[in-house]
Symmetry: C2
Subunit: 365 residues, 2 copies
């Protein structure tokens, strides 16, 4: 996993042959860790497994020409959420939604979920109930069933969710199918979830500084705060595609930011991409937040993450078949040699780094 790394011990001094090596996780980053995991686990030998650890969800055949897709994502207190401004019912809703989003990103319909919940000793029964109400609300919205759960003690709140979805084998859309010339499309709007987080963190800081008298006004920001705290997976989009008989060439959900997800599709499809930044759909409230903090709203849209919109590669001939209200063309897929690029409003073309939020730091690009 780290054979090409300089070997050091825990205190940073060079390792001798008798000492275990110590390579900090941050040197690899999240994607490096995933690659290392894939190396150790090896390629799936089971011929019913169509895709293992390389897409939004794994895919295995269940017979009759149908497949199940499965995905797991954990939300951990202090890493993925700040409990001081996260209502527990919304957290439950989000924990299911982010997993459903991965299933939807395979063009599959969510069916079943299991939960592993770690509860701090300070939790009350009423808090647990709020969490489950949010999970139930999400399950009802997506028409799925929470079939199992493990509840245990933990030092901080942990919500690990697994979702199983279903599709016909030929309906599944992978990250790997984009062709040069395909339209690069997104649903909804971008950067809102990050804007919401920006506001919540700022108001928390102000509350700490100003003390008990401080009463933040969240009303103007309710849209972006909802984008951050209770995102909705775009199941309605893929249901609409099914009715219209349209299937994109490649599909991914935007959890780590537009730039990062575009890189994922390009890497697996063996192509490049050009994003016209002035066409990126950005809500007015998201712009207001960027203005308030004197930041570049395009950065929010490109690198913000957690929007859980869909990014897809569409045959240009299919553009007219889709509901024009449901998506925006924000670029095109290109030859691999061109890499992933952005065209600014001024017409300048610049390479686009992956960026995006990574919990371990490092490993970008």
């Amino acid at each position: 996993m780290a054979d090409d790394k300089q070997r050091t011990t825990g205190d940073g001094s060079p390792a001798t042959d008798n000492e275990p090596t110590f390579t900090p996780i941050s040197e690899l980053g999240e994607f490096g860790l995933i690659d290392g995991m894939r190396t150790i686990l090896g390629e799936p030998q089971d011929e019913q497994v169509l895709v293992g650890i390389s897409d939004d969800a794994a895919v295995y055949r269940i017979g009759g020409g149908r497949v199940h897709v499965i995905t797991t994502d954990a939300l951990i207190e202090g890493v993925h959420f700040d409990r001081s401004f996260t209502p527990l019912d919304l957290l439950g809703f989000k924990a299911l939604s982010v997993n459903v989003s991965d299933v939807v990103a395979m063009n599959a319909i969510p069916r079943y979920a299991t939960l592993a919940v770690g509860l701090p000793a300070t939790f009350s029964v009423e808090m647990v109930a709020a969490l489950y109400r949010g999970l139930k609300r999400a399950a009802d919205l997506y028409g799925m069933t929470i079939v199992g759960g493990d509840t245990t003690a933990a030092r901080s709140l942990i919500l690990s969710v697994t979702v199983v979805g279903e599709a016909a084998e030929e309906e599944v859309v992978y990250r790997r199918g984009a062709h040069p010339g395909d339209a690069l499309c997104v649903t909804g709007d971008l950067g809102g979830a990050y804007a919401g987080l920006r506001v919540l963190l700022d108001r928390k800081q102000q509350a700490q500084q100003q003390g008990e008298g401080y009463r933040p006004d969240f009303e103007h920001y309710s849209y972006v705060i909802q984008r951050q705290l209770a995102p909705t997976a775009r199941l309605n989009i893929i249901q609409d595609w099914k009715e219209r008989g349209v299937r994109p060439h490649a599909l991914i959900d935007i959890s780590d930011g537009l730039a990062s997800e575009t890189h994922h599709i390009c890497k697996q499809s063996g192509c490049g991409a050009l994003i016209y930044t002035h066409t990126m759909p950005i809500d007015l409230v998201t712009r207001d937040v960027a203005d308030e903090f004197e930041e570049d709203v395009d950065t929010y849209a490109l690198f913000g993450g957690e929007d859980y919109e869909l990014l897809f590669a569409l045959d240009p001939a299919d553009l007219e078949k889709l509901d024009p209200e449901s998506f925006v063309v924000i670029g095109e897929f290109t030859d691999a040699a061109q890499g992933v690029q952005a065209r600014t409003p001024e017409g300048q073309i610049i390479p686009l780094q992956m960026g995006g939020f990574q919990h371990f730091g490092g490993g970008r690009g």
Copy 2:
């Protein structure tokens, strides 16, 4: 979820109608929490779901007369394991094994697993690799595929595993099928995992007291330590049953202790049970440990937990069909009115409480 509880606020004073209520989790216990979760989530509406949250694993149809079973269990540092004496490859092995054990306890064959791993910042790449090697070793042993994973930062080590297994619909064995008159059987031996934990915790304490010169001798205890650190799911047993054409009436794996699991089967089957304590299979090393600590080894066997052996209700007519080396009859199922009882070597019959280890305390019986 807590409508019948006295309402108090977080500081224990009575709640007014304007204050949220606060009922400590410990008042409910783990099984109370699970019941509360089931109430909020409701009964599954999906007619393909045969069993939701009430058995070792959930069961849903996949077509063609076959079902998938799915289960999730998380191992959390400081709750389920002590990293100071838990080699990471064994921990990876155990994390998969405990989930496979739940699948096996439905009489199903494990097929696919997903992981959500939370890694502390102090973790090295080499430690992560050790963890994954253990997971891979278990996956190979059970002939299954780890198809997906989520890796994230966390304050302490978290391993949340989901396993999907497969069976013909009529092959699945539930907790609910025991009849009065059935033989009460277990595989392997009991109390070993607890004995191993007892030794590991004692030696850790001694090491802390005696300082660097202390060198514990684990050799005599290797069997029980392995039972604690790297339990193996009894997949071989259910494979053998299949070959012999035998299916128990009810089945559960022993994760919380023999007494607790017997209660689970009896509750769901609507029957009672009588365990002859002198017939419980207990390894000599387990007895040695109990002797060393001047404790009752029957307590280890009844309440120790984590043995991951199988407890099952068998039609007495089927007893001769099974490999006699693979199990022991330790009692019988009885009418519900008799409850769950134990018969001591002296012939005394006493009610058997659930006992067993519960992470939240409370809620027993």
